[in-house]
């Protein structure tokens, strides 16, 4: 088992990783930019190394600085968290070349899943259901027209080099196809430097349902169930639930088994999440994230598994702690991502936190690095806290979440707590009746009504 892990991240996830390390008796090294010198995880870590100036390129994305920090502190593994270098195949390779454990999949697996066209083709060949589409880049030829007809309108034109929901155009009829293809190419070139585009069936009212997996790197892969992350604004998840109100147990078991079978052929290593769009009883693969996800806590609460601990164990070469049969799903969990932003217009609001009082009580969990007197930095994304609650039923979970949101005090900055409060009291949400477009409409209506 590792003696010392370097945490190559910041904010709430760095604290999360530190906590599992200390619970396993592993000492921690926090690398940080000058702006994060007072971050909670830096204060709690056994050692800290300042690696650069605030801009991420000079610090959290600075591979030489992070490797050097690991070398001088004699860290024997690095946990990359999420974002930053966590899905950088080159970083994973460099870490392992230095004889340091990389707590995540192999560099090749990261590279494969980072290529949206290649990963889709690969998983399709392994039996996963995918969104019907061009299976590769398209040109402006008549071939593309025929393809779009076969798929059936509406279709979505997507940039291969895009991501995070950017570089996508909906085409509703053959008349629009020509213009849309040309525009998409132009925009893709400008935004991503690559005008490769492909087309897919456009799903009108899908849910976003993702499956959490753990693999031992030797062919054993298990799943920890699904998360419903349909509530998104500008393709950023806002509120997630485990399990999904849109599928039942047998559907979960079936898609879970399909995913595990495909990934075990790849000998997938460590944690990952396979993301699907789900509509009318059908799952459609969109992408795989080869890292820990922000919303992992809701899975932890309904399965009792500490995913970060499992990541560390797997990276150290320990076998999976459980078989698929050992995994039990019990109750329901929800997570609110709380951002330091105005709840009305989402303008970021960094600044000093004055009063800080997180909610407590049974089955309430707060993953956050905030504390009274802490200054939220402007240089990084605005997620400052995750409020996660568990209930034995979805309804109990909902009542608990409302109660917890009422109690939560974060003074001195704007946060999106009021937005969450309005979501959780909305009839559609209460009924579990929403798709990936719901939140955008809700936010627009809320803004219109003032």
């Amino acid at each position: 088992m590792f003696d010392k892990i370097l945490i190559a991240n910041r904010g709430e996830i760095a604290l999360r990783i530190h906590r599992s390390c200390h619970e396993m008796g592993i000492s921690t090294v926090a690398v940080h930019s000058t702006a994060d010198a007072d971050a909670m995880h830096v204060r709690l870590a056994d050692e800290s190394v300042c690696i650069g100036a605030p801009p991420a390129t000079e610090s959290y994305l600075n591979i030489p600085a992070i490797i050097t920090a690991a070398t001088i502190t004699n860290a024997d593994a690095i946990h990359p968290g999420y974002g930053f270098l966590s899905e950088n195949a080159k970083f994973a390779a460099i870490v392992e070349e230095h004889g340091i454990g990389f707590i995540g999949p192999t560099s090749d697996q990261i590279a494969l899943m980072g290529d949206k066209i290649a990963s889709k083709a690969k998983v399709a060949s392994l039996g996963m259901p995918v969104v019907p589409g061009s299976d590769g880049a398209v040109s402006n030829s008549s071939e593309t027209w025929r393809l779009a007809d076969d798929i059936g309108y509406p279709v979505l034109v997507k940039a291969s080099a895009g991501g995070g929901g950017r570089g996508m155009k909906v085409v509703r009829s053959a008349d629009e196809l020509d213009t849309s293809l040309r525009q998409a190419r132009g925009e893709a070139k400008a935004a991503f430097g690559d005008d490769t585009i492909y087309i897919e069936k456009y799903l009108e009212t899908p849910r976003h349902i993702e499956i959490q997996v753990l693999g031992d790197g030797n062919g054993k892969v298990i799943h920890l169930g699904e998360r419903d992350c349909s509530l998104q604004r500008r393709n950023q998840k806002i509120l997630e639930e485990a399990g999904s109100a849109g599928i039942n147990d047998s559907q979960r078991d079936e898609i879970g088994a399909t995913v595990c079978k495909a990934l075990s052929e790849l000998k997938y290593r460590n944690a990952g999440t396979v993301e699907f769009l789900y509509e009318n009883g059908e799952f459609y693969f969109i992408e795989m994230n080869t890292r820990l996800q922000v919303e992992h806590p809701i899975t932890e609460l309904v399965t009792g598994v500490d995913i970060v601990r499992e990541q560390i164990r797997l990276a150290a070469g320990t076998p999976l702690s459980m078989t698929q049969a050992d995994v039990n799903f019990s109750g329901h969990a929800m997570e609110c991502r709380i951002n330091a932003e105005s709840p009305d217009n989402f303008v970021p609001c960094p600044g000093k936190v004055t009063d800080y009082h997180p909610p407590g009580g049974p089955n309430v969990r707060v993953d956050s690095g905030l504390y009274s007197g802490y200054t939220v930095q402007p240089h990084y994304d605005s997620l400052v806290s995750k409020l996660i609650v568990y209930g034995t039923t979805r309804n109990e979970c909902l009542m608990r979440l409302r109660r917890a949101l009422e109690e939560y005090v974060i003074g001195g900055i704007d946060t999106t707590i009021p937005l969450h409060q309005s979501i959780v009291s909305d009839t559609d949400f209460v009924n579990g009746d929403y798709d990936i477009h719901w939140l955008e409409r809700f936010v627009a209506e809320r803004a219109a009504s003032g």
Binding site: V31, T34, C50, I51, G52, A53, A65, I67, T68, I72
Partner: protein, 147 residues
Amino acid sequence: MAKFDVDEALVRKLSELLDDTGLTEIEYRAGEQTIRVSRGAEGLALAPASSAALTIGAAKEDVPEDTGHHPGAITAPMVGVVYLAPEPGSPSFIKPGDTVGEGETLLLIEAMKTFNPVRAPRNGRVSRILVADKAPVEFGEDLVILE
């Protein structure tokens, strides 16, 4: 008994410290001279000691060695390991008292097997070198004070 000048201000200061801290004795040593101030039954007693005695630093009157940053300090532009000489065995780039010109190499920082020179940003005199050879340093850590 060796003769030495009594620094009256110092003695007063030590006495005040005794009062403020509630201690019964403070011994202060500078060079080979020592003053001990203690609270006896009849009030304060002053006893010079000629032997080299260990200083009991009761009051934190430290010169700020590591607190905060020194003005005029050259700081580390990256995390890494400091090398004070161009090669093992050769003389250090600089020593205290040296005058350096702008652009002169002060020391090297090694990161991932590459050696990066840290150069003087201006002309000046090296007053202190704050890091040891082969010491690991963080980004922004004080390295050398250049006056």
